[in-house]
């Protein structure tokens, strides 16, 4: 439960919206966020929220947005899909105050995803360190990935994208386009990464053959690393990530190009890992979490996928490690959902993706 009484939350900015479903209600916890992208819960029950336009905001426990963005952010390339993306706290944040940021770095002609960390001290970023920059730098402002998760050994995995125009490079182990990379928290490469020792391969690679991975979650209880990625027209995928595996893009896909052209004649090929499930037509999955809270006992252990195109959250039931059906939630909002997280109070938190974005809190209706 929240340290502050729930009345504090309810008495502040909360605007409850009655819903058709009787088992939950959605409250507006914060508003006035410009294209918020990611959120993280601080130990003092405040929250950090990134805005793609290059701001890191602090959300107070009553839902109010600190008017002063967190100082100390680096220069960020902002255009189309590029900007400030993920914020994630170090597994030992209480001791070391490190937080990790992903963002687009570079210029319109030469840019890619960058990972950095800094300490949050007195609501400012200090000791800023660039840990990793995906290579090669490329033109355009599409497909950055940008989500972060920590594995059981406290190493970090960062999702990346293929930059849209460079889809074949997702199969090239010599670079980071279309990959998930694994790093130590100081940016060094773990010695047991799967492609270490393979001549010409980028040592940071953890898995390859991805298009644009905007959801990743490590479930310590089951020791599983789930991710999802955007397909083109159709072919959005939920994957179970194993080190060194090739997830097939663009050799095999259930999607076709936006122009109607085939990306590949194949939906599967030997040596390529099939998705756990795929969404065709596309839902545009933007964030992934696994619910372990107490407020919704029926939801415990289920995956939740925020979607942009479908304007929903997909609940994927997981029973005994197997997917057991899907449920489409929160369509009544009719808003693009950019992030979904399981909060420390047991509520489910959502970020809506628009210039007047909101932080929403889903709680039981009773």
């Amino acid at each position: 439960m929240l340290r502050s009484p729930r009345a504090l939350l309810l008495g502040a900015l909360l605007v409850s919206t009655p819903l058709l479903a009787l088992d939950y209600r959605i409250e507006t916890f914060s508003e006035g966020l410009e294209n918020p992208w990611a959120m993280a819960f601080l130990p003092d029950w405040r929250m950090l929220v990134t805005e793609r336009v290059g701001r890191l905001r602090i959300i107070e426990t009553d839902g109010s947005v600190d008017p002063e963005p967190v100082a100390g952010l680096p220069e960020i390339f902002i255009a189309a899909q590029a900007g400030l993306m993920e914020v994630a706290l170090d597994p030992d944040y209480r001791d070391n105050r490190w937080l990790y940021l992903s963002y687009a770095h570079g210029s319109p002609e030469a840019n890619n995803t960058r990972l950095a960390r800094a300490r949050l001290v007195d609501d400012e970023l200090r000791d800023f360190e660039v840990l990793f920059t995906a290579q090669p730098l490329k033109a355009g402002a599409s497909h950055y990935g940008g989500r972060i998760a920590f594995l059981a050994d406290k190493t970090l995995v960062l999702t990346l994208g293929d930059g849209f125009d460079w889809r074949e490079q997702a199969q090239n182990p010599a670079n980071h386009l279309g990959k998930i990379v694994r790093l130590n928290r100081d940016g060094s490469v773990p010695p047991d990464n799967p492609l270490i020792g393979q001549e010409g391969a980028a040592p940071e690679i953890y898995s390859l053959g991805h298009r644009n991975v905007q959801g990743i979650f490590f479930d310590a209880e089951s020791d599983r690393l789930y991710s999802h990625e955007h397909g083109p027209r159709g072919g959005d995928e939920l994957n179970l990530i194993e080190p060194g595996n090739n997830y097939g893009w663009p050799l095999a896909t259930f999607g076709i190009d936006y122009t109607g052209a085939r990306v590949s004649p194949y939906t599967e090929l030997p040596g390529l890992t099939q998705p756990l499930l795929h969404w065709t037509p596309s839902v545009a999955p933007s964030s992934l979490t696994l619910y372990r809270g107490e407020l919704f006992p029926d939801w415990r252990g289920d995956l939740f996928v925020a979607t942009l195109a479908e304007r929903s959250v997909r609940r994927i039931r997981v029973r005994d490690g197997m997917l057991a059906g899907e449920e489409i939630l929160f369509e009544e909002l009719e808003e693009r959902i950019r992030d979904v997280r399981s909060g420390p109070d047991g509520a489910l938190y959502l970020l809506t993706d628009n210039p007047q974005g909101r932080l929403l809190r889903v709680v039981p209706s009773e």
Binding site: T259, A261, R262, Y266, L269
Partner: protein
């Protein structure tokens, strides 16, 4: 049939020919890229994919090439009337520039860097432009026949 409907028919056929060729070109360049990555592409797969792209991709290219031709072909006719000896080079250039312009416009408007996969490389862009040239040449050929039939005493004034 008067010349205007025939010119319209020539325009439509030019768009269709350019789009047919562009679709086939798009498919083959994409399959070549997959083959380079070790993906097997036997003949039945190649034919099937080509057919699916004719159904799925060609309509997109019809829109793009029609947009480009709508500007380029009347301009080409205007130039041909003034420089009849350069008739065929003018249509070749007009068709190529029509496609190049339509692709550039699409890339500027679309959220992704490059809308059509084949357009991601200079070779692919040139190939698509060549398809536009062939379409424009067909228009020039049919247009000349229109002119002969409607005004048999006149030479190529289109």
């Amino acid at each position: 049939m008067s010349s205007k409907p025939r010119l319209l028919l020539a325009f439509v056929l030019a768009v269709l020919l350019a789009s047919l060729l562009a679709s086939i070109f798009q498919t083959q360049t994409n399959l070549a890229a997959l083959q380079a990555l070790g993906v097997p592409v036997p003949l039945d797969v190649r034919l099937g994919t080509t057919g699916l792209d004719l159904l799925g991709f060609a309509p997109t290219f019809i829109l793009l090439s029609a947009l480009g031709f709508l500007v380029a072909l009347p301009l080409a006719v205007w130039f041909v009337r003034r420089m009849p000896k350069l008739r065929w080079p003018i249509f070749v250039l007009a068709g190529a520039m029509a496609i190049w312009s339509a692709l550039a416009l699409a890339n500027a408007v679309a959220p992704m860097p490059t809308l059509i996969a084949a357009d991601r490389s200079p070779f692919g862009t040139l190939g698509l432009m060549a398809c536009g040239s062939v379409g424009a040449l067909l228009f020039g050929l049919l247009g000349r026949q229109v002119r002969y039939r409607t005004q048999p005493t006149s030479s190529d004034s289109l």
